[in-house]
Amino acid sequence: MEVMGVAGIEERLGEKPRKWALYVAVLVFLICLPLIVRGTYYRHILIFTLMYIVLAQAWNLIGGYAGQIALGNTVFFAIGAYTSSILLERADLTPWVGMWVGAFLAVVVSLALGFVVLHLRGHYFAMATIALGEIARLSFSNWRFVGGAQGISLPIHSPSLYYMQWANKVPYYYIILTMAVLVTLLVHRLHNSRFGFYAKAVKLDEVAARNRGINAFRLKQLAFALNAFITALVGTFYAQYIMYISPSSILLLVMSILIAVIAIVGGVGTVAGPILGAVFIFPLTEFLRAELGGLAMGLNYILFGAAAIFVVLVEPFGFVALVSRIRWSFVRRRGEVELGGAES
């Protein structure tokens, strides 16, 4: 046992710098990516993939770690998008400030809603959040102040940092890349923090966790609020990038589900899951939509539905599990060889 322990530590010490080197390499690659990818359309796919990484990471906090299946994330997305857009349109306020106002509003709303719905468990919570999303969609469609069903077109200015508007896609790419990196780092920190462990406990058995002195409700509220905060920031980014928002483009149940499915296909409750899920699902469905869109409407969604069923039936713990299973099979083979040597 002793010997194995020491060997383990040595291995870990050797592994850590290697891991960091890998992360830095990936980051450098991502920073250089717009230099390689020149086509506007491909850059658009890159930006949206990164956007869904951030959204799925945020969802992962409430859905993956705390185990509360929230399907109304478009509410927070819309709050972020609408707040900054209205402030920009009516008060000429820079979205760099507007995005924080929107995120703050989203947190307030999430705390208020969470106070009501976070008492619900399982299916009940999922359905209540779906209902909230639908209420928001219908209300925004009929609320004249936010543009009603027509939505809001952002005023076009000459490219400037103040208005977060550029003629080409590269600055948007770097903004969303920064967000993705920061949010991933945050989730990574939370993963190994008290929050992460408590959340796991609540997810496994809420009653048992409460009996151990964990304030499950506060924990869920924290996860919900963080999720709302990040999602609202992405909402502002989306509004600035697309320049047009309307209830029928951003308040759709499909989007809430897509966010969750990305995290699930990747692997719930893991840091890498949302990244793997987004990288796999988004470009694939987008390519299918673009390439086969003329041939068949909604083929991407057919595939999306099939993928969701397939993943659940074949590898319920997502890509992360698949990757680690493959890695473990290598490790085990190596381990067997070593063990065989020790026994003889």
Binding site: V117, H123, I135, I264, I302, I309
Partner: protein
């Protein structure tokens, strides 16, 4: 003021009052008629939930499928959907059993998260497969049989709506008789009460699960057939009804059949009354708001037991 004017004013006020009560009665009756269809859809959902604690998010998609089946028969043979209803029922019954055998039986033991997303995946698959096959065109079944408006003592009743709720009521009676009088029905009820005890007493639980799925979708086929006489058939037509079914089920209490019926009627009422007396677009948000409130105040539902 002359007495004549006063009398005229009085009679106008009386008329207004009469009009007011008539309108209220009208909206209540219309609400109950619509509600009976919601109730039937909700009963299918609650049956599945009661026996295996799985929420079928694709419920509305199956409704849409049955509407398309009726449309196809109308197109090919000019059948009234009431005539093609038995065919739709048989097809959907088989579909239910196939869905259970191929997909649902494998996720019975899976965590809730995966159960939810499997049925969501099904919803996407069915909806967009229908987009693919039928194109997003609005289709109508034009029928003359039992069309028009019936006038009963100052109330106007839409004949098509009346027929729908009569058919739905008949379906409830059939379901009740089936669950209480037949062996399979009794088996389903036993399994719903306690699967292990049912298994110990020799009930083929697996079979009961499959039958429940079949029956759940057969009920949807009944609702779909009558709805295809009223609504446009469209690949996303079922989504709203699916959501309403959840609301009805949650209102009445998961697993409770009477609860689902009560919930469905309540949704119909809330929708129509809010639509008439408040702002028309508030109809749907009001229904969902009632849903969230009901969930929070009484999570087990009005008549729930789980």
């Amino acid at each position: 003021m002359t007495p004549g004017l006063v009398a005229a004013g009085k009679s106008v006020r009386l008329l207004q009052q009469l009009w007011g009560t008539l309108m209220l009665a009208q909206s209540i009756v219309s609400g109950l008629l619509v509600g009976s269809v919601y109730a039937l859809i909700a009963v299918g959902l609650t049956l599945v939930w009661g026996i295996m604690e799985i929420v079928n998010f694709a419920h509305g998609s199956y409704l849409m499928l049955s509407m398309y089946i009726c449309y196809v028969f109308y197109l090919l043979a000019g059948f009234d959907p009431l005539l093609s209803m038995p065919i739709a029922i048989i097809i959907l019954f088989m579909l239910g059993i196939i869905t259970y055998k191929t997909i649902i039986s494998r996720i019975m033991q899976a965590p809730m998260l995966f159960q939810i997303f499997t049925t969501f995946g099904l919803m996407f698959l069915i909806n967009y497969a229908m987009f693919f096959i039928a194109k997003p065109t609005f289709r109508t079944v034009k029928i003359s049989f039992l069309d028009g408006v019936l006038k009963v003592g100052g109330l106007y009743l839409d004949n098509a709506m009346l027929v729908s709720s009569v058919v739905c009521t008949l379906a409830f009676i059939f379901l009740y008789a089936f669950l209480h009088l037949t062996k399979i029905g009794k088996g389903i009820r036993a399994t719903t009460d306690n699967p292990r005890a049912a298994l110990a007493l020799g009930v083929d639980v697996e079979k009961m699960y499959a039958y429940t799925w079949g029956i759940s979708l057969a009920l949807v086929a009944v609702a779909g057939s009558v709805l295809s006489r009223i609504l446009y058939t469209h690949p996303t037509v079922g989504d709203k009804f699916g959501l309403f079914a959840f609301v009805a089920v949650a209102l009445g209490g998961f697993g409770s059949i009477y609860g689902a019926i009560l919930g469905g009627l309540m949704i119909g009422l809330v929708g129509t009354v809010v639509g008439v007396y408040a702002i028309p677009w508030m109809k749907l948000p009001a229904v969902f708001a009632v849903f969230v409130l009901a969930l929070v105040i009484r999570p087990q539902g009005l008549l729930g037991w789980k």
